[in-house]
Subunit: 330 residues, 3 copies
């Protein structure tokens, strides 16, 4: 991810007063949820979340702040902290825990503890993946959140909301409902909003605007990614309500941003390669959400993480799509 980028609180290039550095890092962390090191983008994402729910907005802010502060206390590399690299997983962990667990005092304690842990998992994965120069992406969020959802089965004081999938054995799907123009229109923007577990078209539009102020290319990739996920799911016979809710879109949105606007050399080969990855992400979402069905936990953004790792790793052997310099970090 780009370390130097425009920010809300500073003109580019000008040094920022010390007191504003922390809030700027936190907002960049929220922007990094969709791979944008830009505090304006982070602010728009945050407004988009608050539009849908004050609870999730506060959660995102708290999660990004705790995880960023944890990295600073432990002496992590300053440029990474400033780029928001230790904030996005914390923000996502906090939203996910508040979405899937009853927001009582114990859950808020878990939110703080899990956000703190997400920065430790981030550092662990930076180290783990450094030999391959592939990005960590949202893997720390996925691992940390899943841990708490699974723990519900052992801890009687952790209370899930009705939103976690019921544990069951996977069975063959049948085609449910009919996809209409309204399914497509809502699914398109819900797919973008679902990156932060927000089922709201308004939030999706604000997220798209947030991307636009950072990168036109990223914004176009997100829209096209959401549409691709939706169309693949439709063609394969996924359930209409899931398509409308954006369930098959949000992982493809992230893959599209990552491969079409960040990690590959621009060009025709990369466009096709990224399209394969975006389609594969929709299939991987179906597969991973089914594989997790016996555990009763959601796939979160694991399909995005795994597919992007595969396609970025593979690019090392494919000169026609390989970026000249692979960006480390993120």
């Amino acid at each position: 991810m780009k370390i130097s980028s425009s920010g809300l609180l500073s003109a580019d290039g000008a040094p920022l007063p010390a007191i504003l550095e922390f809030p700027d890092s936190v907002l960049r962390g929220i922007g990094q949820v969709m791979l944008q090191n830009n505090s304006w983008t982070g602010l728009l994402f945050l407004i988009g979340i608050f539009c849908n729910s004050t609870l999730f907005g506060l959660g995102a802010l708290a999660g990004a702040a705790v995880s960023t502060a944890t990295a600073m206390v432990l002496g992590a590399d300053r440029s990474r902290v400033r780029a928001g690299m230790f904030g996005f997983n914390g923000a996502l962990v906090a939203i996910a825990l508040l979405y899937f667990l009853e927001p009582d005092a114990l859950t808020w304690t878990c939110v703080v503890f899990a956000s703190l842990c997400s920065s430790i998992v981030m550092a662990a994965m930076l180290r783990l993946l450094q030999f391959w120069q592939i990005p960590v992406l949202t893997a720390p969020f996925v691992l940390t959140s899943m841990c708490f959802f699974l723990a519900i089965a052992r801890f009687g004081r952790l209370h899930s909301t009705h939103l976690l999938p019921t544990a069951g054995l996977p069975a063959s799907a049948t085609v449910e409902g009919i996809v209409t123009a309204s399914t497509v229109a809502q699914g398109l923007f819900n797919g973008i909003a679902q990156v932060c577990f927000q089922g709201s078209v308004v939030t999706g539009i604000l997220f798209a605007l947030g991307l636009l102020v950072s990168s036109r290319r990223a914004c176009a990739a997100a829209l096209l990614g959401s549409l691709t996920g939706l169309v693949v799911a439709w063609g394969m016979g996924a359930a209409e309500p899931a398509i409308r809710a954006g369930a098959f879109g949000f992982n493809s949105v992230l893959t599209a941003i990552a491969l079409w606007s960040v990690f590959l050399r621009p060009g025709a080969h990369s466009l096709a390669y990224g399209a394969v990855a975006t389609i594969a992400t929709a299939v991987a979402f179906a597969a991973i959400s089914a594989a997790l069905e016996p555990l009763g936990i959601p796939a979160l953004t694991l399909p995005f993480v795994l597919v992007v790792w595969v396609f970025v790793l593979a690019a090392a052997h494919f000169p026609r799509v390989r970026a000249a310099v692979i960006q480390p970090g993120a």
Copy 2:
């Protein structure tokens, strides 16, 4: 895997006319299913598959061709492509999808897409494993195929055949049926044929002949590996129909070929070490197929992949079995 080896379409050493290079690579890819870089072997394997089923024969050919072509289009290393390294996973993915999914138009689309993806996963794993110099083996086939089998639970237009295991919770097995001489005779050759999901003694014999033209050692290893898997399963009380069908043999066949004829220093220690691995593969097959029972997907060749990775990695610490030069690639 050996890069320079004998070929169907060329005298060794003589350059091959450009037009014959692609079919030669594809046939080598089919030979690499059992680690043989030899287009005669690939041809015999293909004949063996066609003897059992035209559908699977066409699938193997299409899968190997699509995955080989994908690697060429993306600019992969030419010597790897020529050695069939980008063909064997595609061939296996195609056979597995046509075996476990109804062979309709959507499944054929998936066969093409999955074969294409298998070459990307192959490149990703070549990169992932390069630090340890261990072979990729059939991991891309396993990962790609499992993805489609799991996706059946979300995609209503993907139809499984009755051959996928039913999702269930693992329960203690009891001894079923009595192993006779005919169980052993059929299980021995079915075990070799099942490497390509063919339950046919004739196919197994043709596969053994295919190995023989490439390497007497590999052929002997395959027969002994199949027998070992069968005997372990019998002794531990596995069900007779599964033993007869070669279910406990095909992973041991591959482990035996890999450890007795490719990846270890020849000698008494390596014979014993390979025997431990071949026995361990039969136990690992039982474990992994039970572990996948809640998902309703088959173990495929995952036990072989994991056991060979362990034994080749470990050889780095055991000078008495370590090959002088570990062969990269495959």
Copy 3:
């Protein structure tokens, strides 16, 4: 782990008669179960196990002996063998198999085979993890044991005891029973004894003494780790019988020993960092044991292994907790 340390059979520094080297290595292997390269510690652990059960005591001895001998036959590095690095996983595998499988002739055959395999898995993981300089810990024990527990579902002659969890789908827990002073007192020492699957306060006290003769710091860490795991489980609403049995303690015991006495730079930051890890281990135990519920297998020490890997990997990015020299090996 420390390679040079005090031993039962030799004054420090004096060379040991060749005939005593093997038993000394085996006892060190038993001591390494809790990361102590000290044959007196190993002897006390062994006495602790025999106090609870002759069967498990014989198993621990046999497992450590077979796995140590396997490494010697294959020519593994002598200093690692002498430090007990190839013994602790074998000892644990043997105890676990005798605990969860009926101790008949086939199970004893499996004990020998699995202990042998545990040394091969150990070598594989030494190689796998060498690039990150993180310790293998008890991962070979976990992987090897789980393989045999899962295989029960395919092999009719493997008989489980009633101690393996029943395969089921995870469901939300409710608070069961009331935690009293006796729960805490028993849970504290059972948590230490459960590192070797011994539910016995006497064994727990002997294990604590074993740690004391090797390192006061390790002994204090073990007690505090067990208490932390217990308190977290209590606060989160875990079932009282499980808390009393030490189920939420033994992984935290190991994490506490590893992070507070072996792998981090001593200091205030490391105390806090280790505390986070010890709490996280209790949550990870809940999560992993729930995740394995559909398979009907126990979590063993997998939570400890994964959490310590994460925290040691992450320390590379956190100078305030990073050890000056990361100890390779173990």
